[in-house]
Symmetry: C2
Subunit: 201 residues, 2 copies
């Protein structure tokens, strides 16, 4: 059985990435990698669902033993992708989705050049601003900060493999599935298939 | 308006490449590049449809002026892709399909690194043999030669961008369309889109 694809998905906050991925997950065949963190669970967050909430000691143990595919420290807390579950699912032939930010994505690409990096774009930076304003959970100042961060993040989209615009949810989901399907038809991932057709294996 | 994709399609004889492409053409948006040749038209062949039938002098003139995207000589006759129509259609934003053999495909990739190379595979070399036998137009010896040529051609599929198996026609057609759609979502072809989202243009 051939290995699954390692898919890294990034997007600025407010792009609807979570909604797109929730729809993608409904298609089946994908494993969503839950990150680990040392920060405390917020109200309503569940261990193993939003994050694996682990101690600082355990996290550093995992870093030390190479058990983190990528990790970063924000505001004094670690966030990272535990390698074991990812490898297991890939070996089972499942496509694994990592929802991580730009720096983490670049680290994964370095460690696993076979990973597929997908960047989800808002139709325009202004749309992102409107979405954040409409959501109404952030102050004007926070929104400006978010938009400016988004600018920086989107500037990294050039280094991804694919970019998908989330204008209409349905289209973004079908674009995502389309990209994964096509990626599996690339010649670089079809060596075994060609060997089979030729009767070499 | 962004330029169209230059799509090169190769397949061994008997893979149903023509049927797949005929279905793809029905989708619209594609321009099928008709090759030029110096050989005489066979019964039923139409100028500008099967080939552009041109004189040896005209063909060599085009070679000399850089008017051939790729060309080759077989059995004393030239075959090639006139560049002008291809460039015109690409500039109009149409995706241009070149149905050419492996060597020509490699030459196009060299000249136009942006071209997308698609190889259509039979489900197995044995299927190809059966299809040729069923067609009943060739002798056993010719079939053996074809199968052995196909082996050599399929061995080049590793160097293409995508490989598509033509098992069920409908699937092969949808795979082809899928590949082209995904290719347009690659970050390397989306620079302008990212610039637009960022409000840079």
């Amino acid at each position: 059985m051939s290995k699954g694809l390692l898919i890294v998905v990034s997007a600025p906050s407010g792009c609807g990435k979570g909604t797109v991925l929730a729809e993608v997950m409904k298609e089946g065949g994908f494993f969503y990698s839950v990150s680990a963190t040392t920060r405390s669970p917020r109200q309503g967050e569940k261990d193993g669902e939003n994050y694996f909430f682990i101690t600082r000691e355990r996290f550093e143990e995992l870093i030390g033993s190479g058990g983190m595919l990528e990790y970063a420290e924000y505001c004094g807390n670690y966030y990272g992708t535990p390698l074991e579950a990812v490898e297991k699912k890939l070996n089972e032939g499942m496509d694994v989705i990592l929802e991580i930010e730009v720096q983490g994505a670049m680290k994964v690409k370095e460690k696993c050049p076979d990973a597929v990096l997908v960047f989800i774009l808002p139709p325009a930076l202004e749309t992102l601003r409107h979405r954040l304003e409409k959501r109404g959970t952030e102050s004007g100042q926070v929104i400006e900060k978010r938009v400016s961060e988004a600018y920086g993040e989107i500037s990294k989209a050039y280094s991804y493999d694919y970019v998908i615009v989330n204008d209409a949810l349905e289209d973004a989901v079908s674009d995502f599935l389309n990209v994964i399907k096509a990626e599996k038809m690339t010649a670089k991932r079809s060596g075994e298939l060609i060997d089979k057709v030729l009767g070499r294996i």
